[in-house]
């Protein structure tokens, strides 16, 4: 195993270098030339995306730093989309942040560090590195949530996020320490190997470790009953930051769940399989039912995210139960596809919210969307697509997310009555559809509340239009992304 493998960490290296550069250079850039930092960040993101893209078709799994860091096809796909999501978030953030004294170097540097944390988590093959990535991501996000110092709600959200995030990290760390104690190694492959070879000091510690790890992952995903922070943070954080939290970090949480549970603890699957199922069902119920009562769109999306993560966990838990590598790859591919389409739709929804916000006005109540169809039919359409996608109505990308998760779920031939789990899941999705189409209702069927013109910058318009088109194009021709996810998973699991 190589000591350092520069090729494997190329995207992260670029990202780290540019984040540091922006951090150092920005204080010397005058206020009116802030676009320099912005362009620099976007260029860096493009370079990172490109380097991920180049590695996309690699068959081999590369290790770096003595096996602490792994670059496999799954990691490349997730990193690519995390990178795109962060880029879109920065573009969407522009006009909002300019009007609220947030358009500073910190925003760019912290966003890039968040992404670096996300990418580290995605590629971490070692307990310590997972923790390192997690903390890097979380600390950057805590600071981002609190970026508007004069806004009490943001401060409160940051506090809550920090305290609960620290708790979650504690859970995860505690689980990791037990895992280390039981197996005597930090390397995930080695952990799996030692458990398989029954070289474990204490079996009970393993079970306990699994419980804590699942709880920690549940926190990070925002799955019920570890979801309390989600709505408050989504609601309180500045909208661009909420967008950032809702997109790339979900992919990281998925990757960590995959690395820890599937790669590290496959032999404990009997335990975590049911835990995840339980988390999934509780999340579906809590998320969808509570979202119905919300009037604030950000809060509603927060609650709905809980339900969405529940749905994703259904695929996650079924991968192991079906037995064969091929069907496991299908299941994890499905979960990955689900996370990506979820992020795509959420980006669109937050994007439209940011479009409507202007100086001194936060478009974040559902009623703020009133009559958007009459004011700007195209952006109303983009928002409608995002909502239909989250609801899982074809022809949008989200439908195929639901479809592949259901088909992964029904492949499960364990003792769990999966058909009924699937029925419960779709019934809660129906509840979900109610509040998603309510947003469409407000936009299309009600008269506009205010006629204030809003003007979007061209880069934002292009990004938002591309986002909307991506939702519908993937809804008609999902083959490419579906194939990408499942083949990446096949190669990851096979290699």
């Amino acid at each position: 195993m190589p000591k350092v493998n520069f090729l494997a960490v190329l995207p992260e290296a670029i990202l780290l270098a540019s984040a540091c550069l922006i951090l150092v250079a920005d204080p010397f850039i005058p206020e009116r030339r802030r676009n320099v930092s912005y362009s620099l960040s976007l260029t860096a993101l493009a370079a990172v995306a490109l380097s991920c893209w180049n590695l996309l078709d690699e068959q081999v799994v590369r290790y770096a730093f003595g096996g602490m860091f792994v670059t496999d096809p799954m990691a490349q796909v997730l990193k690519l989309f995390a990178c795109l999501a962060t880029g879109f978030a920065l573009v969407y953030a522009q006009s909002y942040s300019r009007g609220r004294a947030m358009w500073r170097g910190e925003l760019f540097a912290l966003a890039l560090f968040t992404l670096l944390g996300v990418m580290t988590m995605i590629s971490a093959n070692n307990l310590l590195l997972i923790y390192l990535g997690l903390e890097l991501q979380s600390l950057a996000l805590y600071a981002l949530v609190a970026l508007r110092r004069d806004e009490p709600r943001a401060g409160e959200a940051a506090m809550k996020y920090f305290v609960l995030g620290a708790l979650a990290s504690g859970f995860l760390l505690y689980g990791m320490s037990m895992l280390y104690g039981a197996t005597g190694t930090l390397d995930l492959n080695e952990i799996a190997h030692r458990i398989a070879a029954a070289q474990v000091a204490n079996d009970k510690a393993l079970v306990l470790a699994t419980v804590f790890l699942v709880a920690g992952i549940g926190f990070k995903l925002g799955a019920a009953p570890f979801h309390m922070w989600v709505p408050d943070v989504y609601h309180g954080a500045p909208t661009p930051v909420a967008l950032l939290i809702a997109s790339a970090p979900k992919m990281a949480a998925f990757a960590v769940a995959f690395r820890l549970l599937v790669e590290g603890l496959p032999h404990e699957a009997g335990h975590w399989h049911l835990m995840l199922l339980l988390l999934a069902l509780v999340s579906l119920a809590v998320g969808n039912l509570t979202a119905v009562a919300q009037t604030n769109l950000k809060r509603m999306i927060g609650y709905s995210t809980i339900g969405q993560m529940g749905f994703m966990l259904l695929a996650m838990q079924s991968g192991v139960a079906s037995g064969t590598t091929a069907s496991a790859a299908t299941a994890y591919g499905a979960a990955m596809f689900y996370v990506i389409t979820y992020a795509l739709a959420t980006l669109g929804a937050f994007g439209v919210m940011l479009l409507l916000s202007r100086q001194g006005f936060e478009a974040e109540e559902i009623s703020d969307m009133r009559g958007l169809f009459q004011r700007r039919p195209w952006y109303a359409f983009v928002m409608a697509l995002a909502m239909f996608s989250l609801a899982g109505v074809p022809p949008t990308a989200g439908f195929y997310g639901k479809l592949v998760v259901l088909q992964a779920l029904l492949a499960d031939n364990s003792s769990v009555p999966v058909v009924w789990v699937a029925v419960i899941a779709v019934l809660f999705s129906l509840v979900g559809a109610f509040y998603y189409i309510r947003v469409v209702k407000v936009m299309y069927f009600e008269a506009p509340a205010d006629d204030q013109p809003f003007d979007a910058r061209p880069d934002m318009r292009i990004a938002l239009s591309a986002n909307g088109l991506a939702i519908i194009v993937l809804g008609v021709l999902p083959q490419y992304l579906l194939g990408l996810c499942s083949s990446a998973m096949v190669r990851t699991l096979g290699g």
Partner: protein
């Protein structure tokens, strides 16, 4: 006939392309241009369905005009289209009704005209897609996607209570569809990864699984038909929808549910279908008799026709579940006929509503005095609605009643009560609205139907009469496929050894 040209794809994508064009280029400033483009688009869309009718081979029970392209490799789903005797008529019917719908909204819609017509054209393409798709996933995508334009049509251009109606419509149908989705995925898993409907039809399935599948299908299709007791969304949706929305809803969208029974429930779960036939027949008879009475007491014309639609669709499901050729062909004939007749009835109500902005029967009376040409055409449709011989309504009802009497005399008798009830509610409404003295100044000031309205109604009248006088081509085309379906349904699919 050039069999290799993808006529079905053309029929699906031409209206959608026109719709997308209107959506992107149409503005309210140039509303007349938008209307003209929409009309041209719908006419072209109708023309491209003609080769499908003329090139259809009557002796062939299987798929015709088949197209198959790999669509989603990783799920083994194909873009697989084809029509057979069960679906052939719905393709031109949809295109035809879309032309009527475009004509119907010509003057009434003044705001966001482009989006309005775009919704109808896109809806038309999606509906044709449902009737042509023979891949389970493709069918589902088209089936579900039709919800979005209809939701928007009801919600944006509908009546005062449109929001409630639109959401109710959406959620009701979505509930059924989600269960349908689970069963599709289940079939996909049990057929070792295939979305081919015909593979599912051949696959042996145990009885209890079949019953669950049947019920899941039933949830989707019964809501769409709609069958009693899940029909309550329909009167709301019809009353609030704009005229053209009601026309498309009644004429085509309700057929999706009935068509689903033919394509999924009966051939995939035949044993369950036999098992639960009594249940479905009972629900159908309730729809025919009870909803017939409900229609009788309506004071709102649109509601009345909406309830009569439910009663007529009860005939369709009754015809399916007596498992005889005459019943099933009658049911399909009834579906086509109902497409014309209910569409025409809603159009007539729309013509009056555009002038008076009232749908209340009590607000009318003596319309014949001011709108004689309109009144005579509506007479024809009201007669067709109660199944008068020589109108299209007679063909299907007569065949279904015949089949029902063969099956069981008392069921036949109960079904035949529709002849009395249908006549009662249709003609009584007609009498109160059209005949008598001029009831009020509003009616006195009515202008007779203009050429555009006469054209729309005249086209429908021709169709109603043609089908009533000479239904042979209609039933001939479905003969082979219905025969094959009945053979399929009569063979048990239970796995051997059970």
């Amino acid at each position: 006939m050039n069999a290799t040209y993808p006529w079905l794809s053309t029929a699906i994508w031409v209206p959608i392309a026109f719709g997308v064009f209107l959506l992107s280029a149409g503005r309210d400033r140039s509303a007349d241009v938008v209307r003209a483009v929409a009309l041209v688009g719908s006419l072209i869309s109708m023309l491209v369905t003609l080769p499908i009718v003329t090139g259809f081979r009557l002796d062939h029970a299987g798929l015709q005009f088949e197209e198959q392209i790999a669509w989603i490799d990783s799920l083994n789903a194909n873009y697989h289209l084809g029509v057979d005797g069960l679906s052939i008529w719905f393709v031109p019917l949809t295109a035809f009704i879309t032309v009527i719908a475009v004509l119907a909204g010509w003057k009434a819609i003044r705001e966001r005209v482009a989006q309005y017509y775009a919704s109808f054209l896109i809806l038309s393409g999606l509906l044709i897609g449902v009737f042509c798709a023979v891949d389970g996933l493709l069918f589902y995508v088209f089936f579900e996607a039709t919800l979005i334009p209809m939701y928007v049509i009801i919600g944006v251009w509908g009546g005062p209570n449109r929001v409630y109606a639109a959401i109710k419509f959406f959620l009701y149908t979505l509930l059924g569809s989600f269960l349908f989705l689970v069963s599709l995925v289940f079939l996909y898993r049990s057929s070792a990864g295939s979305f081919d409907i015909f593979a599912w039809q051949r696959m042996p399935i145990g009885l209890s699984t079949q019953i669950l599948l049947f019920l899941a299908f039933f949830a989707a299709f019964a809501v769409k038909v709609p069958m009693w007791p899940v029909h309550t969304w329909l009167p709301d949706a019809h009353v609030e929808a704009p005229t053209a929305g009601s026309v498309v809803l009644a004429a085509i969208m309700l057929k999706l549910g009935a068509y689903g029974f033919l394509r999924f429930s009966l051939p995939i779960a035949p044993d369950a279908a036999h098992h639960l036939a009594g249940f479905v027949i009972a629900l159908s008879l309730i729809a025919v008799v009870y909803i017939g009475f409900v229609a009788l007491v309506q004071t709102d014309m649109k509601k009345l026709v909406a309830y009569s639609s439910i009663a007529h669709m009860g005939f369709v499901t009754l015809g399916f579940f007596i498992f005889s050729p005459i019943g099933m062909e009658g049911a399909i004939a009834q579906m086509v006929s109902h497409g014309f007749v209910s569409g025409a009835m809603f159009l007539c109500i729309g013509v009056m509503y555009d002038r008076t902005h009232s749908r209340n029967i009590a607000d009318y009376g003596g319309v014949v005095n001011t709108m004689p040409r309109f009144a005579s055409l509506m007479m024809l449709f009201a007669m067709a609605n109660c199944g008068l011989p020589a109108t299209s309504g007679f063909v299907g009802e007569f065949m279904v009643i015949l089949g029902a009497v063969q099956f069981d005399f008392w069921i036949g008798l109960a079904a035949a009560s529709t002849l009395v009830l249908g006549a009662a509610y249709s003609l009584w409404m007609y009498k109160r609205v059209i005949f008598g003295q001029v009831a009020n100044p509003v009616v006195a000031g009515l202008a007779d139907a203009d050429p555009r309205e006469l054209l729309a109604m005249g086209l429908l009248a021709d169709a109603v009469l043609a089908m009533g006088v000479y239904p042979r081509p209609l039933t001939d085309a479905m003969h082979a496929s219905v025969g094959q379906l009945l053979v399929q349904v009569s063979h048990s699919k239970l796995p051997p050894g059970l």
